[in-house]
């Protein structure tokens, strides 16, 4: 039973559920992460200092260059990866990286996904059907 179901474009990867780590900022594995420590390392990022390993990242847009295509898989292999990734606006690099890493990834939602999902919410992603379900909330959104 979900509290809310959000539609997006069909995505990549298997169905997963986990705890969200959400911010309205953009995302690049190279620009924003300390991939060895598993934390956000860019001082200007709203998630600076937050641990991302095992969380479902909910962010705005994919940014930057080619690095994420290789890096997401390397992070999975080193067990330093997020569980899944939801972006309002993806790009080919992030889709290619997710497909290579077999990491759940969706974008193009019918709402601003960073407003709809808060850090700490328990969510389920069903990429094949383009659905995100909010299973429980850490707090009520205004």
């Amino acid at each position: 039973m979900s509290l809310l179901e959000i539609k997006g474009h069909s995505g990549i990867g298997p169905t997963v559920h986990g705890i969200a780590l959400s911010a309205p900022d953009d995302f690049s594995t190279r620009y924003d992460l300390d991939r060895d420590r598993g934390i956000f390392s860019r001082p200007s990022h709203k998630l600076y200092g937050e641990e991302f390993v095992g969380r479902i990242l909910v962010l705005n847009a994919a940014k930057g260059g080619v690095a994420s295509a290789w890096m997401l898989r390397e992070m999975v292999k080193k067990e330093k990866a997020p569980l899944g990734l939801l972006l309002n606006d993806g790009n080919p690099v992030m889709a290619q990286g997710a497909a290579f890493a077999q990491m759940p990834f969706m974008d193009r939602f019918d709402v601003d996904i960073t407003s709809a999902i808060s850090t700490g919410d328990e969510i389920e992603i069903v990429p094949a059907r383009g659905i995100v379900r909010i299973l429980s909330r850490i707090k009520t959104k205004d």
């Binding site: 994919a62 930057g64 260059g65 390397e74 790009n91 080919p92």
Partner: protein, 425 residues
């Protein structure tokens, strides 16, 4: 190795592509077409478009051990199982042994680099140490579809050459190498190449770093791969190097893969052609916007740890300028001055005496991958560096995430600051 399809609906495959998927063209092609089908379906590609040229982005830091292992796994297949269907170059440039021993002591990057070059070479990928936007690799023709990996190369080719390409990042371009095709979506489609947003410069950028700032401002404003800016100038037309710096920054700050400069780039002889007949609102960028961007990074008066002139790597013309600025001078003892150039350019500079002038001043000419792409965070930690200067607005963006406090400035200001050991205004 074989990809899994996640979708209830998939893009259209022809008979050859179906045979690839069924493994009839070898295991590498089967992996590749499955991977490409998943990505193509994600972006609603109708079908594939054939390509001739591929560029594989393979810097050692981003590939990681798992990327090398993946390429070695492909290389371990019998040749009939990994037949190439395109001409591929890789930008793996190896490591400059002497300089990387200084930058990252205790780590044998030469061996790590050789491992990647050998693995790629076994597949038939040409490791020629260059990027198309470094002007050291032959570019495709106007309108030609291709499968290039590096974002600087892709935005350069879409915008300046008029070739057609999406970001086909590392594994994606490798897949194109085995299938000889890429999914037809994004910038392979006429409709996606028209400008979506208009800009006008009401000043004339003074140097390449100003052009980089213009690219950063537009990238930040649009912040989407699917946006295509068109820019109208008031001053003289930019050089290719200036356009290149603007392109790098747009891709870095906004994931932009294509732009037009009206009356300069090949698909924008006028506003009508650039925007496909649409009337766009045009936002003006003035020099105050540029000044504000510089002020954001600050640093004037700070002790200076490192100057990295890179991204894109230096041309001979720029190295002539740098040598002239350093001739008879000495880099301050607290500052490291690094000048990155493709191996062939470094050798050319040595032949005409430029490298010797630069090294006599205490600076280093480094060949190999760019500063930001070769363990810049680890280098910072090894040397306890903090304040960085560079003329590359893209590098400013990346190195801020690696814990540096970067200051963007012209080459002249970077060199003068390195001599004084502090960031000068």
């Amino acid at each position: 190795m074989f990809a899994t399809s996640w979708y209830e609906r998939n893009m259209k495959l022809d008979d050859v592509e179906k045979a690839m998927l069924d493994g009839k063209h070898g295991r590498a092609a089967a992996w590749a077409i499955g991977f490409q089908k998943d990505v193509g379906t994600f972006f609603d590609a109708e079908d594939f478009v054939p390509i001739r040229l591929v560029h594989v982005s393979t810097d050692r830091e981003t590939m990681g051990d798992s990327g090398i292992a993946f390429i070695e796994e492909l290389g371990s297949l019998r040749p009939s199982e990994r037949y190439p269907r395109a001409y591929a170059t890789a930008d793996f440039r190896g490591f400059d042994k002497e300089n990387f021993n200084f930058l990252l002591p205790g780590r044998n990057l030469e061996v790590e680099g050789r491992q990647a070059v050998e693995a790629l070479g076994k597949l038939g990928v040409v490791t020629n140490h260059a990027y198309v936007n470094d002007h050291s690799v032959t570019a495709p023709g106007f309108g030609e579809a291709c499968g290039y990996s590096g974002t600087p190369s892709v935005i350069y080719m879409n915008s300046i050459v008029g070739a057609r390409c999406n970001f086909e990042a590392g594994p994606s371009s490798l897949a194109a190498f085995f299938t000889g095709r890429v999914p037809r979506y994004g910038f392979h489609l006429d409709s996606k190449r028209f400008a979506t947003h208009g800009f006008k410069l009401d000043f004339s950028p003074a140097n390449i770093v100003d052009w980089g700032v213009v690219g950063a401002l537009i990238g930040r404003e649009l912040n989407s791969y699917w946006c295509v800016p068109a820019l109208e100038l008031t001053g003289p037309p930019p050089t290719v190097l200036e356009l290149n710096h603007m392109a790098l920054a747009m891709a870095s700050y906004g994931s932009i893969a294509m732009f037009h400069v009206v009356n300069v780039t090949p698909e924008a002889p006028d506003w009508g052609a650039a925007a496909g007949g649409k009337k766009l609102d045009v936002k003006t960028i003035d020099f105050n916007d540029v000044r504000t961007f510089y002020q954001e990074w600050g640093g004037i008066g700070d002790e200076l740890d490192v100057v990295a002139l890179s991204t894109p790597q230096m041309t001979v013309t720029e190295i002539i300028e740098i040598a002239a600025l350093l001739d008879g001078k000495r880099v301050h003892e607290r500052t490291t001055l690094l000048i990155y150039a493709p191996k062939e350019i470094k050798q050319a500079c040595a032949r005409i005496g430029l490298t010797q002038i630069i090294e006599k001043a205490g600076a280093r000419v480094v060949h190999g991958h760019d500063f930001f792409a070769t363990f810049a965070k680890e280098i910072r930690l090894a040397h306890k560096w903090d304040r960085l200067m560079t003329h590359s607005v893209k590098m400013v963006n990346i190195c801020a995430g690696y814990g540096y406090r970067p200051t963007p400035a012209s080459i002249q200001r970077c060199i003068q600051s390195a001599i004084e050991g502090k960031v000068i205004g």
